[in-house]
């Protein structure tokens, strides 16, 4: 489903060059629930951005569904991002000027779907994260956990085959975190969604099928 081959990524700022990913290869099969672990700054988010097609590698190849896409142009990448991938960011990234419902509808705006159907799907996604009652609220009127659940609803509203979650429980207390884990687990079991999750929490990582460990931009076994 997802194959990352010998990917290198380095950032250059003025004088210092930081290598975020150094020769990383990962293969994630369809329907897997994988977690990525490693110390802060080891390149977890960078790897997630590569898989989610939000960033381009300096070297290496990225395959999604056997399509090699790292050199695709903006116009061809956009529909893949839209249809195949749902992304949950480390820092939510909700639009404060839009209601919860409109935030969840956002990915559907870039598909050919009627407004009515968009609404129905968004409410359905909100139902999955038990937030229907807050549909008309605005993000800044919600708690951190609720915002995270809105972000999850937005990531799953388009029914993507791949869900990428960058520390989805990082900002939450353990009760809230467990609730989110249950939601992800359900998606993986019931909807057969492939999930890649970054976490610092060993307990939560143990709940997944496989753990990928990163250190200083490289895989460790």
């Amino acid at each position: 489903m997802i194959r990352i081959e010998r990917v290198k990524k380095s950032y250059r700022t003025d004088t210092i060059q930081t290598t975020a990913l150094n020769d990383v290869s990962v293969h994630i099969k369809s329907g897997e629930f994988v977690s990525i672990m490693g110390p802060s700054g080891c390149g977890k988010s960078t790897l997630m951005n590569m898989i989610g097609l939000l960033d381009k590698p300096c070297e290496g190849k990225i395959y999604i569904d056997a399509q090699r896409i790292e050199s695709y142009n903006d116009k061809s990448i956009a529909p893949i991002r839209n249809e195949k991938i749902g992304f949950i960011f480390q820092s939510f990234h909700l639009i404060n000027d839009l209601s919860v419902l409109d935030n969840v509808e956002l990915p559907l705006l870039y598909r050919k779907i009627s407004a009515k159907e968009r609404r129905r799907l968004a409410l359905e996604a909100l139902d999955k994260v038990s937030l229907n009652a807050r549909a008309k609220h605005f993000p800044n009127q919600l708690s951190g956990g609720q915002q995270q659940r809105v972000a999850i609803a937005r990531a799953i509203v388009g029914n993507p085959k791949i869900l990428l979650a960058d520390e989805p429980t990082g900002n939450l207390d353990s009760a809230m975190g467990n609730e989110i884990m249950t939601i992800l687990d359900d998606l993986n079991k019931k909807e057969k969604t492939t999930i890649v999750m970054v976490t610092h929490d060993d307990e939560k990582a143990q709940l997944t099928e496989r753990i990928i460990r990163l250190f200083d931009g490289q895989l460790v076994n």
Binding site: K75, R81, D97, L98, L106
Partner: protein, 391 residues
């Protein structure tokens, strides 16, 4: 999609109304400057009604105490210099062109009161100046000894008093109980030059044979190519003819140059101020619009992460700003239109107003589109991962 954009704009109404205010101000300032330039240009380019090539003005200090002696001396002088081979024609004129002096009066008619400037010239001066006769005839000897004085009027005054009707041989009330007879209508005679406003004008006759006629300048039409040095010869002759008088010789070209120069000096200050004002407003608008987009770099990155193409995101930004500037221009238009409605500024005609509105609208729209297009182009050049980290 449109519903989404409008919803978003409504939620951002605070920020957007600031932008609208900024654009309204920019639009009104721009409109004022464009209209001012347009009105000035209209005035400046309106036909002068006469030619000024190869024409020289000879002004003298007349002896006010003895009008008759003054007239006699002036007449003799006119005859003497007319003999010179360099001089093709010579006439008297009460107020020469390109100076800020003229006779003025108010004429009371059925159509209202009109402010009118006038001068008096000797017979044939109109042809010498290349003035254009639209109806009737010029003044001549046949106007001698009439109980009702003859007068020439310009087209504007004719339109004001008589409308579309015929003016020739018609009478109108002049100062006191006097009536004047129109014998001819000329295109115009903008005595005070290109910078003066277009207005009503009348021309009376100076009868050189009448010892009571009075004038204070003589104008000569020299052969083309006559050098400026000819003045020396002329001055000698003038001095012989009237030894006690001082004569000042200037070409009409010089008078006009001086008129243009002083007209420019008077206008340069408001022009500089308004250009400065426009620049300030333009930079302010540029800054506000530019910041409005860059501040949203994260949002734009998010939209692309959600599957929007860079082009779609850019279109949204441009569309938003187009709607905002259209709203602002509408508000600015509704404010600005009060001026031509009230009619306070006479030269601000509807056609000039709407022309200026059209020009200002196009400029503001282009500025807005550019201020949406370029920063959003820059914002969408980032990879979504970088845009999402943009602060």
């Amino acid at each position: 999609m449109f519903a989404h954009i409008f919803k978003m704009m409504w939620q951002r109404k605070r920020a957007n109304s600031l932008i609208i205010i900024e654009i309204v101000i920019a639009f009104i300032v721009l409109l004022a400057v464009v209209a001012f330039i347009r009105v000035s240009y209209q005035t400046y380019s309106a036909p002068l009604g006469f030619e000024f090539d190869n024409t020289w003005s000879i002004e003298f200090e007349p002896d006010i105490k003895d009008r008759e002696k003054t007239g006699l001396t002036a007449r003799q002088t006119l005859q003497v210099i007319s003999q010179l081979p360099e001089i093709e024609d010579a006439h008297t004129m009460y107020f020469p062109p390109f100076i800020e002096a003229s006779s003025s009066t108010t004429i009371d008619t059925e159509n209202g009161e009109f402010f009118v400037l006038s001068t008096a010239v000797s017979d044939g001066a109109q042809q010498a100046m290349g003035m254009k006769l639209l109806a009737g005839r010029w003044l001549n000897e046949s106007d001698n000894g009439q109980t009702i004085r003859s007068v020439l009027i310009n087209k504007l005054l004719k339109d004001n008093i008589f409308g579309d009707g015929n003016a020739v041989n018609q009478l109108f009330d002049y100062e006191g109980d006097e009536k004047l007879r129109v014998v001819g209508v000329f295109e115009d005679f903008r005595q005070m030059g290109e910078f003066s406003s277009v207005g009503n004008y009348m021309m009376f006759r100076t009868d050189l044979d009448n010892p009571k006629s009075y004038y204070r300048s003589i104008h000569i039409w020299v052969k083309p190519g006559t050098p400026r040095a000819f003045e020396e010869k002329l001055q000698k002759l003038l001095h012989q003819s009237a030894p006690n008088w001082q004569f000042e010789v200037t070409t009409w070209q010089q008078l006009r140059d001086e008129h243009i120069r002083s007209g420019m000096v008077v206008r340069i200050i408001p022009i500089v101020i308004s250009l400065f004002l426009m620049l300030m407003v333009a930079f302010g608008l540029l800054g506000v619009l530019w910041q409005n987009v860059t501040r949203r770099t994260q949002e734009l990155g998010l939209r692309r992460a959600m599957g929007a193409t860079a082009a779609m995101v850019q279109m949204q930004i441009v569309f938003e700003l187009l709607v905002i500037s259209l709203m602002a221009i509408t508000i600015g238009f509704l404010i600005a239109i009060q001026l031509p409605i009230s009619g306070v500024i006479e030269q601000l005609t509807w056609s000039i107003f709407f022309q200026s509105v059209a020009i200002s609208t196009v400029i503001i729209m282009l500025l807005s589109v550019a201020c949406a297009y370029y920063p959003s182009l820059i914002a969408t050049r980032y990879l979504p991962a970088d845009a999402l980290h943009y602060e």
